[in-house]
Subunit: 139 residues, 3 copies
């Protein structure tokens, strides 16, 4: 069984959709099996992270901003793919450093992530976007 | 078919559980299909790496320690999520930079990884822990 | 259904095999399900990235070269696993920072990646190699 999650974003950061994923798995009727998530973009990614403290999510985003600065910053002047703006290439790099797909076992009709784990869309791009994540449940 | 692997750790580093995974796949009776592994924590991750030389694993751990230093080091003073200690946020970041899930095809009743590939729990946290990894075999 | 993709490489960079993957999925007869890809090496990885501009792929490779320099460069002198050459350990680290497995849903008989997403073997090693990627379709 498949679905498309539409995750609305408004600038770089982590957007949780754990509840939507749980609902899809419940509605699928699957009791034990495998859930796969796949994001159909090259400037955002998927992340499983602590869902307790918003500070942690801001720090995470800031780490990636410092690790991969915009192409208009001195340390990144060597970038050549800049026609789509100074953040375009850093967005692709951040996606490469994180994940575009996740595989989460389904146990007793629920995604078997830990108590403190949330499922996030990690947006790297500025502006408002609706991001597509494909969900597949099998087994 | 599912299982829970309990991986005992004692501080940052790589802990191999390749043999336990192979045993689970063999006992599942699956000849061809897919094995999924998922770690239920946000301060350790999963890694497929060379299983030959312990030096390689120490270097790997040291690279991540240098890339994401503790929040009490000068270059990381900007971190805000520090109430759980100077290593808490770096642990989450290292998890984001690596993997929480792996998908490994099963061929002829065995996980189809290469000869030199081992399956590791990559522990980022100090102290002694028992880490839970969910395994799912299907197909 | 399984296959082995043989991807020929000639030095560090991204090598696309999107079409080969699509052909395998089509020939499998699967209409809806899950495709898993797994690379059997520890010095190359898998990447889903923009397939439009070759500059983007060169920048991506260059970012990783700068993030993880050779062990004969001053900032990397601390590496100990150097018997197989100055690039051996950086190759393993780059693999750890990216992905060895991908899970891509199959929809209407095709891998459900986005229009601009291509599937790449990310080679980290010099010289000519034939890299093995296992493909598994189920569901």
């Amino acid at each position: 069984m498949q679905t498309v999650f539409s995750v609305r974003t408004s600038g770089p950061g982590l957007y949780e959709f754990t509840d939507e994923v749980a609902r899809f798995v419940r509605d699928s009727g699957c009791r034990e099996g495998l859930l796969a998530l796949f994001v159909q973009h090259t400037s955002c990614s998927l992340l499983v992270q602590e869902n307790a403290d918003p500070d942690a999510r801001r720090d995470l985003q800031e780490f990636f901003r410092r690790l991969v600065p915009s192409s208009d910053e001195p340390t990144m002047r060597w970038l050549t793919h800049t026609t789509e703006g100074p953040d375009d290439m850093p967005e692709h790099i951040k996606t490469a450093l994180t994940a575009v797909s996740l595989s989460i076992p389904v146990t007793d009709g629920r995604p078997a992530h830990g108590t403190w784990q949330g499922i996030y869309l990690f947006e790297h791009r500025s502006g408002a976007h609706v991001r597509r994540v494909i969900g597949n449940v099998s087994g």
